[in-house]
């Protein structure tokens, strides 16, 4: 039996189904999922766009390339012809998907193609790091809350140590160290510049933010009658944890997923912007903003486009997270849903 299951409710429909139905009726979830779906689709078609539409290699510098725009051959990096004739400016947005739709960056690379590839890295790192955080937090929270005593003290102090460092300070420090040396954990080895490093780093630094609330919840559940009854009946610890306690903390975990995804994505972008996340020539939205920083005066689109995508994605994830939370909370459901 779940504690979210009031005694008076008919057991014809599970809380999960009710939550899904509520979610399906929530406009916020549709809007956010639509935006996320479009972004995901764009990320998925990145290789097709680069090879078959833009006909470009988004990771290769093409400083001497030329393109034909409206029958006129133009250099991708155009030299100035005004004043003292100083400087080179990347070509701006042409509006044509086949030829620098959003213009070029300072290496002569197609910004649109890099944006799509950047989406793949940013979303992949965001999702992966969020899952690392959630899974490890769940494990720590369940063990600490259920075992209590010495085990709880050790794990809680460990969380306190990580908690003591500001997230960005810790992630920047870890990135700077691991980026050049790589990371070896037994048989697992992440080489310098590996995309697994930001996943690991971001996944670790957010653990206290999820593990502590879960631990608190487990501590409270541990004292509930149905858990005591299970203990009294001689059920195994694993049975109690996975069959009695875990189902009751899952709603909280589900709410955490989109929020942690958004946070992980923002952190990845920040690290990549600081050149300590995804390494060139690979792209993420953060690295593209970094590339665009040097072009703010002439080609602001290079920095603005990934910035806009980050805002859209983060806002959508937060909106979806709110909708999930409301869907799982009986108090916020419309009358007649529970």
């Amino acid at each position: 039996m779940s504690i979210n299951e009031p005694a008076s409710v008919t057991l014809s429909e599970s809380p999960g189904k009710i939550a899904l139905r509520t979610l399906a009726r929530d406009r916020r979830s549709w809007i956010s999922l639509s935006i996320l779906g479009v972004i995901l689709l764009l990320a998925l078609i990145a290789p097709f766009y680069a090879s078959s539409i833009a006909h470009t290699d988004p990771f290769k510098s093409t400083l001497n390339a030329t393109i034909s725009v409206g029958g006129v051959t133009r250099q991708v990096l155009e030299p100035s012809t005004e004043g003292l004739g100083l400087g080179i400016t990347p070509i701006g947005p042409t509006g044509r998907p086949g030829a620098y739709f959003l213009g070029a960056d300072n290496q002569g690379r197609d910004v649109a193609a890099r944006l799509l590839y950047g989406a793949r890295n940013t979303l992949f790192i965001g999702v992966s790091a969020a899952l690392v955080t959630i899974l490890l937090s769940l494990l720590i929270g369940l063990i600490a809350g259920y075992r209590r005593g010495f085990v709880d003290s050790v794990l809680s102090r460990l969380l306190d140590v990580i908690w003591a460092f500001p997230v960005y300070l810790l992630s920047i420090s870890l990135s700077v160290v691991l980026l050049t040396s790589g990371l070896s954990l037994g048989f697992i080895h992440f080489g310098p510049g590996s995309i697994a490093l930001p996943i690991f780093i971001i996944g670790i630094v957010y653990i206290p933010y999820v593990a502590r609330p879960i631990r608190g919840q487990v501590l409270a559940l541990r004292e509930r009658e149905f858990v005591r009854a299970a203990v009294g009946s001689g059920a195994k610890h694993s049975t109690i944890i996975f069959r009695e306690i875990l189902p009751n903390v899952l709603p909280s975990v589900l709410v955490f997923i989109p929020i942690m995804f958004a946070l992980a994505m923002l952190t990845e972008s920040a690290l990549s912007f600081l050149s300590i996340g995804v390494q060139p020539p690979q792209a993420s939205w953060g690295t593209i903003i970094n590339d665009g920083l040097g072009l703010l005066y002439t080609r602001p689109i290079v920095a603005l486009a990934p910035g806009l995508l980050i805002v859209l994605t983060a806002a959508s994830l937060n909106l979806f997270g709110d909708a999930v939370r409301d869907g799982l909370d009986p108090k916020t459901r419309p009358r007649g849903d529970s």
């Binding site: 510098s61 400083l63 001497n64 990096l77 400016t89």
Partner: protein, 573 residues
Amino acid sequence: MRKRPLHLASVLAVATLLLSACSGSSDSASTSTGGSSFGAYEKDKAGGIVTFVASAAGGTLDPKVNYTAQYWQLYQASYDGLLGFKYADDAGSFEIVPNLAEALPEVSNDGKTLTFKLRKGIKFSDGSDVTVNDVKASFERIFKVLSPTAGGFYNGIVGADACLKAPATCKLDQGVVVDAATNSVVLNLVAADETIQSKLAVPHAAINPANAPAKDAGTTIIPTTGPYMYKSYDPNKELIMVRNPYFKEWSHDAQPQGYPDEIHFKFGLTATAQVTAVQNDQANWMFDPIPSDRLNEIGTKYADQVHIQPLTAMWYLPMNVNLAPFNNVKARQAVNYALDRAAMVKIFGGEKLAAPVCSFLPPGFPGHVDYCQYTAGGSVESPASAWSAPDIEMAKKLVEESGTKGQKVGIVVSDDEVNKQMGEYIQSVLTEIGYKATLKPISGNIQFTYIQNTNNKVQISLSQWYQDYPAASDFLYILLSCGSFTPGSDSSINMAGYCNKGLDAKMQKAMTLGLTDAAAANKMWGDIDKEVMADAPVAVAFTPKQVDFISKGTKNYHFSKQYKMFVSQLQVK
């Protein structure tokens, strides 16, 4: 030097050569006046604070260790040697004039003995007198602190060999003989050196107090003799220079009185922020290369504040010949073939600001020969006359033949915008020809010394070299001789770790020949250039021009080919 080393040629030969080769060389809105020394000091224009901005500090403040153009520019207004380069515009600035010495040295013993007389009455900025003992101690200190040019510039002093072997106990009793009674300094050389006077005029030969630390002083301030002294130095924030209260002008040519009361050098601004600061008159001058996206704006809206000066310099990629994959000559040649120098020129700001090259000695430099082995249509055996385009297919073929395909290569660059862009381009090229290239941008504050130290196992890096003095040895001998390679040291200017004893001997021969037959020596240097580049320990990319962007309120801009802009002569009042 940005990085740079210096090198000398005989004074008259240099002056003659440069006056003919470089006259009218400033091609900007600059107000260069020719090779004459400056006019009389205008006291009513003195005062105010001059502010410079840079993305990072230039490393140690020790004048015997620092080898960056960033600080040599400042040392000119603060530290003095027995000789100095003249305060004059353009080619006139290569003229060597007596500085702390009363006159140019009396040369005897077939060029192996130079006798100076130290000026009297000069004080360090801490109030102590400059004595001949300070002079002797300063020469010994070159070796004690492992100056990057100890083995390249000053190894010809009698006793230098022992000092190079045991720096901590360096004594030059036979090499530098001083007499306090007569204030004389006698410099004894093992052999005549055509460039010794230039070597005595650079900051590494500056006279420091005898009690200066016997190790790299780092951020510790060493008293100066020039018009400015250092008040404070925080490499993460700011360097402040103030007037030296004990300075009295002793030679208007060598060390004239300065105009600003203080010179502040602020660190930590991006190049873009530096441009904005100069535009808004919040800074008088910016050190870093101007970002390419601001050049057009500056070249149109601020053209009258821009000074473009030709330089004898190069941007190049030292490749560590002692580490894989570049311990294989074919791998190094592959990089040379693959490099699109025109692309790098674009990143630097376009054809108005740089030109592709692939010979080691820059165009217009003594010994330079127009040739390019690593270009489309060229080869080591049959070089083209100039670089025209990269040859990627040849590069890929050489990588295959070298058996190094697929190896990991780390590229170390400074983390300013232009260098990072260059690095990203190089990474793209190395990836294209078959390597797994990674880019390692590190602070400009440490990059130059980092890439010199073999302990850091740098495989390939991006660096710059600006002439110290117009002689081929300043490039070839300083950068690629065995004597300039000191494993495990931050002061190992031969970053490629290239040591070819046969070529070393030829370089020595060319330097000796230069004493009697400059033309023959230069021809020999041209041949050495080709031989060196056949081994390809470096890939030369382009020769840059200096773009000085100064604020509207900054006056009296003068440019020295030796030290670039004269910082002490700027007027802000």
